[in-house]
């Protein structure tokens, strides 16, 4: 699409051919184009890993920070200047492993930030170790006998932590994913999307074909995302043991809560405030 050209950069894309990241990048570009945003209004905050590189490929402002820390970087940006559209992109290692604590608190805080979690169940950039979302039967590097621990369920954690927009997408369904990202843009709060993606190099269990056979769209099942109990039931369908599992995608849960940056805050870009010496004078008087 012609309008997508605005959302690209001169940086060379260094992913493996066939990587699920391409689908996510394409969906994000479509969603950005559809949202009518200008590149200079958007800040993409990338984690470290193959996924975080999206920050450099999207053609907006970016802060490409430390591994695991995309969410607090983004929160700092958003609290300092709520006028910016802030998007976090990170992988399962970044957002669920190294930075898991930040994710839990992001659900609680509910800043108006969109968070795209690239979930391929394996570590790519460090060459094939287990991720928090690796399924127990998957035998990654260092754990040839299997991971033996249940996979992390980010959607269940999000629901438990009071998350206000909890969704799952699939990198193999770009159109569906672009629509989900668009809904997250519209949502005034923490718009979280766990995105299933194959890793063609290191995950030979959860392949594109494997996912394609199992995913189904919640919307076609008349799921009501305002119903927390229904959301919980759908969220617990997967990850789960067994080969006959079905994997729901779409918006599981949505609620209205005030966005964090508007709660008891100056409510404007503090980056643009003029220095006022009288505030300091008055503060000093209080120490007489």
């Amino acid at each position: 699409m012609a309008e997508d050209k605005a959302w690209s950069t001169s940086a060379e894309i260094t992913w493996c051919p066939g990587c699920g990241n391409f689908g996510i990048l394409a969906a994000l570009r479509q969603a950005l184009a559809a949202a009518g945003l200008e590149p200079w209004q958007v800040v993409v905050v990338g984690g470290i890993g193959q996924s975080g590189k999206v920050a450099q490929y999207i053609g907006a402002n970016f802060l490409h920070g430390l591994h695991g820390r995309a969410i607090p970087h983004a929160l700092g940006v958003k609290l300092a200047n709520p006028e910016l559209k802030v998007i976090v992109v990170g992988g399962d290692g970044d957002l669920y492993g190294e930075g898991g604590n930040h994710l839990l608190h992001a659900f609680r805080r509910n800043p108006d930030i969109v968070c795209l979690a690239h979930n391929n169940g394996v570590y790519g950039l460090t060459k094939g170790q287990a991720a928090p979302t690796s399924s127990p039967g998957f035998a990654p590097k260092n754990r040839e006998a299997g991971t033996h621990i249940p996979a992390f369920n980010p959607l269940a954690a999000g629901l438990a932590m009071g998350g206000s927009f909890i969704a799952r997408g699939f990198a193999g369904d770009i159109k569906h994913l672009a629509r989900l990202i668009g809904e997250a843009f519209e949502h005034k709060g923490f718009g979280f999307i766990d995105i299933l993606q194959p890793c063609v190099t290191y995950n030979h269990v959860n392949t594109a074909e494997w996912y394609r056979k199992r995913v189904y769209d919640l919307e076609l099942e008349s799921h009501n995302p305002l119903d927390a109990d229904a959301a919980r039931a759908r969220i617990l369908e997967w990850p789960a043991e067994g080969d006959d599992v079905e994997i729901p995608i779409g918006v599981f849960y949505r609620s209205r809560r005030p966005a964090y940056e508007t709660c008891g805050r100056p409510g404007q870009a503090v980056t643009r405030l003029e220095f006022d010496i009288d505030v300091v004078k008055k503060a000093m008087e209080e120490f007489r």
Partner: protein
């Protein structure tokens, strides 16, 4: 010259901290200078805490010696501090009707209060002089009667303590008659009214009643303490110098005010003693000062948020202690690589690990000079007084922004927690520069901004994200001028050199070491940070004994002032370093940077501050 110490001791939760702050402020308003050091345990209830308030008619810089008077809120305090009292000192202690004999001036009193001396039965009058007089006041009971709750016992005690500053001549009426406006007692009345006004008239009335009842308890006994009485008298005489231009505040508050005076817009932090009051102060100022204070889930998140806010264009800071700083270390390097200005306050305590959470030490100097992997330019400031803490915090913000590097303000529990009297800060001398020249970018071709453009100074123009038509790319990976990641070795060398090339101008922007009272003497005492006060007063003591000694104090530490230190120390016959750690980190740094080997070192690592008299003794031995 007046230089006396009033102390307050008790369990955590008995209001020692509040009472000592009220006492200190009362005396400052009466025209005195204060240095007040809290000696607290890491617990919320029980235990034993005490704060010693040193009162003088000239500026004082270090922790007090023996106590002239002590308000003991519990019995442990009485036992614990007998040996800390000066000859003829007075204790006001919780309790009534002890069985020990009555004697001296109050021997005609009824049993409500007793004056004790330990072992007084088997001592002659001359020997009693070195024992503290103990005045029993049933503070909790009086507080219950007049304040409705024993929590105001500390105010009763304060009233009793301040009654000691009054003339003991005519019972019952002093303090009110003599000079009602200027006596410390009246100052405290006014302070209590201010402090509790927001809690309603009843609370004010109760506090005033408790204060008066405590004072009357002493007044009726015609007890007096010579030094304390002088305090009351000179306070009256000191009316003119009841300086309007004087502040009483902790080092932490001086740092927080310095941040406000530097236009801070964002603070993220995680509570950690002794830095926490900085965060609490800024949180309370959010609406008024237009800033955001975010309590992070951990110190990693704190510095990472600060970096995000700095990227967005806010002047941003965090404050922590050694453990939290250890978690922030990777973030410090991120700020350096992305060339974003952040200010980190590191208030040291004794470590490693949890160490002594509420006590002081200077063991993190070398850590902070090299924290985070690989090499990058940074500033480190180690202020010695509250006044210097205010100014150094302003320099940290200004210079971090000018050079787009991280800056650390190195405090410690002694500087951070002590109450200092300082002249009002001179706001004409603080600066808040504009960190962006956005007008220069109006009308430029779209997408022409290069975040890491190579310049002669190594500093690239900054823009805030959200600038129409331009994109701001910041990152922690090695990058080209546009801000895209690269693995090119030539670009790596160029970018590394760009960052490191700032060092020379950074060194030039720093302030020279403080020399006291002159630049050269036979013996140079070299120190950094909060050791300033004890070292300065030790130098005074030694010079009064005709020892040729001067202090060289380093606040602006990194980049290290090589040339200045080399020149300053060249004429000295002996260089003695004084620092609060066990290996001599300042001495090591001095040798590394200048080749100068300290002739002797004075080291302290027991979690307690240096004390001027004993430090003078140590220096004398090593001269």
């Amino acid at each position: 010259m007046t230089d006396i110490t009033l102390a307050i001791a008790g369990q955590a939760g008995q209001g020692v901290d509040t009472a000592s702050e009220l006492l200190a402020r009362t005396l400052v308003r009466s025209g005195y200078h204060i240095f007040s050091y809290p000696n607290v345990m890491s617990r919320i209830r029980g235990g034993h805490n005490f704060t010693a308030v040193r009162v003088s008619d000239r500026q004082v810089y270090s922790t007090p010696g023996k106590f002239n008077a002590l308000l003991a809120m519990d019995e442990l305090s009485v036992r614990e501090h007998r040996a800390d009292m000066v000859e003829g000192g007075t204790m006001i202690a919780e309790g009534r009707m002890p069985s020990i004999e009555h004697h001296g001036q109050s021997s005609n009193d009824e049993a409500r209060m007793t004056i004790e001396t330990r072992n007084s039965n088997d001592r002659g009058r001359g020997e009693r002089a070195d024992r503290p007089t103990i005045l029993r006041v049933p503070m909790a009971e009086i507080a219950g009667k007049h304040g409705g709750s024993k929590t105001m016992a500390n105010v009763v005690g304060l009233g009793a303590l301040l009654a000691l500053t009054e003339s003991g001549d005519s019972p019952r009426s002093r303090g009110r008659d003599r000079n009602p406006v200027q006596s410390p007692f009246s100052k405290l009345r006014n302070l209590l009214k201010e402090r509790f006004a927001s809690k309603g008239e009843e609370v004010v009335r109760q506090n005033l009643a408790c204060l008066k009842a405590g004072a009357d308890h002493i007044r009726e006994r015609r007890v007096t303490n010579v030094e304390c009485r002088m305090l009351g008298q000179s306070a009256t005489g000191n009316r003119q110098s009841g300086k309007r231009g004087r502040l009483l505040l902790t080092g932490n508050h001086a740092i927080a005010l310095g941040a406000l005076a530097s236009g801070v817009r964002f603070h993220a932090g995680y509570p950690m003693s002794p830095s926490t009051p900085i965060m609490e102060y800024l949180a309370a100022k959010q609406a008024e000062a237009g800033l955001v204070m975010e309590q992070a889930e951990d110190e990693i998140a704190a510095i990472i948020m600060v970096i995000g806010a700095a990227y967005a264009g806010a002047r941003a800071m965090t404050a922590t202690s050694g453990g939290g700083f250890s978690l922030m270390v990777e973030g410090l390097g991120m700020a350096a690589m992305a060339e974003l200005p952040v200010v980190v306050v590191l208030a040291m305590r004794a470590g490693p690990a949890t160490g002594f959470p509420t006590r002081t030490e200077q063991g993190e100097l070398l850590f902070v000079t090299s924290a985070s992997q690989d090499e990058f330019p940074r500033f480190v400031f180690a202020p010695g007084t509250a006044e210097e803490a205010f100014c150094a915090t302003n320099r940290a913000f200004e210079l971090a922004a000018r050079f787009q590097v991280p800056a650390v303000v190195l405090s410690d529990q002694l500087l951070s927690d002590s109450l200092w009297t300082v002249p009002s800060f001179n706001l004409a001398r603080t600066r808040v520069s504009s960190d962006f020249d956005e007008s220069a970018w109006q009308g430029r071709p779209a997408n022409s901004y290069r975040r890491y453009a190579i310049t002669a100074s190594g500093v690239s123009p900054r823009l805030r994200p959200g600038f129409r038509g331009q994109l701001v790319r910041s990152l922690g990976s090695e990058h080209d001028e546009d801000g895209f990641q690269t693995e090119d070795k030539a670009v790596r060398v160029k970018m590394h050199e760009k960052r490191m090339s700032k060092l020379e101008a950074m060194a030039g922007a720093m302030e020279a070491p403080t020399c006291y009272p002159e630049e050269t003497a036979d013996v140079a005492v070299v120190c950094f940070g909060s050791t300033y006060g004890a070292a300065r007063e030790a130098v005074d003591i030694l010079r009064s004994e005709r020892v040729s000694v001067a202090m060289v104090h380093l606040c602006d530490l990194i980049p290290f002032p090589r040339e200045r230190m080399t020149a300053l120390l060249a004429p000295a016959r002996k260089v003695i370093t004084v620092e609060g750690n066990s290996t001599g980190q300042l001495a090591a740094l001095l040798r590394r940077e200048t080749g100068i080997k300290a002739d002797a070192q004075v080291l302290k690592y027991d979690g307690r501050p240096f004390e001027a008299a004993s430090l003078a003794e140590e220096i004398r031995r090593k001269c």
